[in-house]
């Protein structure tokens, strides 16, 4: 603006004078260059020293560096895996991949369960019922003060102390809990189920789209068109129709006691069960606090003002309170999700085969310490960075738009 009106002769005079870097300690630019060269140099020197020592040590122990070992046959028995795996045939690479999948699976399911439990407990702490709020407060205070590892070991021994399969606790003779873990009925998965699931996922996207269109319409005309018939059709109607058209297969395999153990059905090992129990119960105590403080941070005036506008209490919660509370809740919640993912590495202590456990076995068998640890760190770094990138994006989307 001002440039347009300024005298062109003045521009050169107003521009900052070009300074030459003086080779003197009083010159800040020179000083900063010297400091940076010095510090980076020291770091590089230490790094070079470590690398030289390492390569000498490795040469002395006849360990070849590199990731060639990934193609060798692993021979690590793996109890639980999402992919077909045979220790006699499959490679270290595949074993590690299974470890990654196990970690991700624990993390995803743990995050969902911990969020549900934590939210319930956080709301419980805000309850007007004295008994409920004190009980949930006790839960939070106690479990946050205990090391997760101690809790995991405790749950693991508790599960191991359960009666054997013959005296297993059961729920209507279809689900069993014994010292061999949990046995559940399993659905015999058919292609029809996959298609129905796909239709359901499409339905979710369709619902989001319908909602957006309804909001647009509301903003234009002031009347919100009813979306629930379309949503119901997309979420329930079409998936069920797909399933029916494809022959409606429904076959459940029940676990049956044969000899000393159960046959059939889906199973959760005691290790998995203990890990999930510990992670969920521990993380929920942190999530509860986040939810509580998020809701409490919304001033009472917001409720009152929304009420004064004539909104119903459900509308107040959905349109006024939650969007604001979410803004406060999401950043700490993200770090809890990351913590849960990283904490799932404690599985190694109770013998659940996640990436840390399998990489640890690998590095013990092959002696490839550096590569093994690089794999562990790489996996977690990738997970952490992707979650935090996603969350930054989400945060930016819901952030308060200011002038």
């Amino acid at each position: 603006m001002s440039q347009a009106t300024a005298d062109p002769r003045l521009i050169a005079a107003r521009a900052a004078p070009k300074r030459r870097v003086r080779l003197s300690w009083t010159d800040p630019v020179f000083r900063s260059v010297v400091w940076q060269v010095l510090i980076v140099g020291v770091v590089l020197l230490i790094g070079w020293y470590f690398i030289r020592n390492t390569s000498e040590n490795l040469a002395a122990r006849h360990i070849a560096t590199g990731f060639g070992f990934l193609d060798r046959v692993a021979g690590i028995p793996i109890g639980e895996s999402l992919l077909p795996y045979n220790p006699a045939v499959n490679t270290y690479g595949r074993a590690l991949l299974i470890g990654v999948l196990n970690t991700l699976q624990v993390a995803v399911i743990g995050v969902v369960l911990a969020t549900i439990l934590g939210t319930l407990i956080g709301i419980g702490r805000l309850s007007r019922n004295w008994l409920l709020s004190k009980l949930t407060a006790f839960y939070v205070e106690t479990l946050r003060d205990l090391p997760l590892l101690l809790q995991l070991l405790f749950w693991y021994t508790v599960l191991q102390g359960l009666p054997g399969p013959k005296q297993a606790w059961h729920l209507g003779n279809i689900a069993f809990l014994s010292n061999r873990g949990m046995r559940l009925p399993e659905l015999d998965w058919q292609p029809a189920h996959t298609w129905a699931l796909l239709a359901f996922v499409c339905g979710i996207f369709g619902t989001l789209l319908a909602n957006r269109r309804a909001t647009k319409r509301q903003q234009a005309t002031g009347i919100r068109p009813a979306v629930w018939p379309a949503v119901l059709a997309m979420l329930v109607g079409i998936p069920v129709a797909v399933w029916l058209v494809l022959g409606a297969p429904f076959q459940v395999e029940l676990p049956v006691l044969r000899g000393f153990n159960f046959q059939g059905g889906g199973s959760l090992s005691p290790e998995y069960f203990a890990l999930m129990l510990g992670l969920v119960i521990y993380t929920a105590s942190y999530i509860a606090e986040i939810v509580r403080s998020g809701i409490q941070a919304i001033p009472l005036g917001q409720w009152e003002a929304a009420g004064a506008l004539g909104l119903s209490s459900g509308q107040v919660l959905r349109q006024i309170i939650l969007p604001q509370a979410m803004r406060i809740i999401i950043p700490p919640m993200t770090s809890q999700y990351l913590n849960l993912t990283k904490n799932s590495s404690l599985a190694v202590a109770i013998g659940f085969q996640d990436i840390v456990s399998i990489a640890n076995t690998t590095l013990n068998q092959t002696g490839q310490a550096i590569e093994g640890i690089a794999v562990i760190m790489g996996v977690y770094l990738t997970i952490s960075l992707s979650i935090s990138l996603f969350m930054n994006w989400y945060n930016a989307r819901i952030a308060l738009v200011e002038r």
Partner: protein, 380 residues
């Protein structure tokens, strides 16, 4: 402040509560337990469950509990009483038998007063550090003196104390040493890294700091500990052998440094820009500005989150179990490996839990009251 002014500041709903509370226990019950049909139902169900659980826990933990067991002629505990009571009563005899092992590890039995004194020293150090009267530069001297004393007591070899190498250390002192030394060394590192990350003049240093903090915070502690136990020996020239405890300690310092750096950075960011600008206007050099103007204010802001971070590290020290160091939790497992006591893990874990809760609860309670105090003075 007089009564009237306090009442004026209480919001209306709270004032209602105050009025109700004044009407006696029946009114309290009606608002807090039997407020509505839903609330009444919750109270009844929860009350029933709590009474049942507390009652059975009381029976298990006290009424039917076994406190001592007879010892055989060879000194081996005869745990048949406990075995009979299993499932009905707790076997606290395992703690009576093993508490010295769990608390002090394999430290020579006659010298175990030394780790005991060390534990007391650490607790004293925490208490002194927690008192605001001592928040001065001299606090650093107190820390240095105490930590030196801890070293002398644990190692011995001077003042007529027999020498005890790290291989025999264990139990609670290890937990406290890892957490406290970790914090003491990580803190200066964290301050430097936080300053480096905020610097505008040194882009290369800033990048190094960002890399360090983000990498460490992106990986689990376990992987850093593995690195210290498996990879670190490779880094050293052949023949140099660094003790396992020291390696774990270094890993802890590096790990804690990254987290603390973020906490300190939060404090630096919260400080109004005018402080730094005013210091610049006075012509202070960078280090003078930082150490006399910026840090004293920024660090005061972050004391509550620092305490919370410390609680986290205190709990995280238990992870050294996985690399085979003998901290409190590991000693609990070692105690359980003794054949007669093998099946009484619940009792041992409860004992360990009590120790951890005692430390963590005291610290978190303190952190919260501190937060309240500091906020009060700031709100004025």
């Amino acid at each position: 402040m007089s009564e009237a002014t306090i009442a004026d500041h209480i919001p209306t709903p709270a004032r209602e509560q105050l009025k109700v509370a004044a009407l006696g226990p029946w009114a309290w019950l009606r608002t807090n337990l039997l407020g509505s049909w839903w609330s009444t139902a919750v109270t009844l169900v929860l009350g029933y469950v709590i009474v049942r659980v507390v009652f059975s826990l009381f029976e298990w933990g006290f009424v039917h509990a076994v406190w001592t067991v007879p010892y055989g002629p060879t000194g081996i505990a005869d745990t048949s009483v406990c075995q009979n009571a299993k499932g009905v009563g707790a076997c606290w005899a395992v703690l009576a038998d093993k508490y010295r092992l769990i608390l002090f590890g394999r430290y020579p039995y006659d010298e175990q007063w030394r780790p005991a004194v060390v534990v007391l020293l650490f607790i004293g150090l925490y208490v002194v550090t927690g008192m605001r009267r001592f928040w001065r530069k001299e606090l650093a001297l107190i820390w240095i003196a105490t930590l030196t004393l801890v070293g002398i007591l644990m190692w011995g070899g001077v003042f007529g104390l027999p020498e005890v190498t790290e291989d025999y250390w264990g139990g609670l002192p290890i937990t406290l040493i890892l957490a406290t030394f970790g914090l003491a060394f990580a803190f200066p590192l964290a301050v430097l890294v936080a300053l480096g990350r905020r610097s505008t003049r040194l882009p290369a240093v800033k990048m190094l700091c960002v890399l360090y903090v983000e990498i460490i915070r992106g990986v689990p502690l376990i992987s850093v500990l593995f690195m210290a136990s498996v990879m670190f020996p490779l880094f050293m020239p052949a023949g140099v052998n660094v003790d396992k405890l020291l390696r774990a300690q270094i890993a802890f310092i590096l790990f804690a440094g990254a987290y603390l750096a973020e906490v300190v950075r939060g404090g630096l960011q919260a400080l109004p820009k005018g402080q730094a600008e005013a210091a610049d206007a006075l012509g202070l050099s960078y280090w003078k500005k930082t150490s006399f103007i910026i840090l004293p204010q920024a660090l005061r802001l972050v004391i509550p989150p620092l305490v919370n971070t410390f609680i986290g590290f205190f709990k995280d020290t238990s992870l050294v179990l996985i690399i085979g160091l003998f901290d409190l939790l590991t000693m609990g497992k070692v105690a359980l490996s003794d054949p007669p006591w093998q099946s009484f893990s619940t009792e041992v874990y409860i004992g360990l839990a009590v120790v951890y809760i005692a430390f963590c609860f005291a610290m978190s309670k303190y952190s919260r009251s501190l937060e309240r105090d500091l906020n009060r003075s700031r709100a004025r």
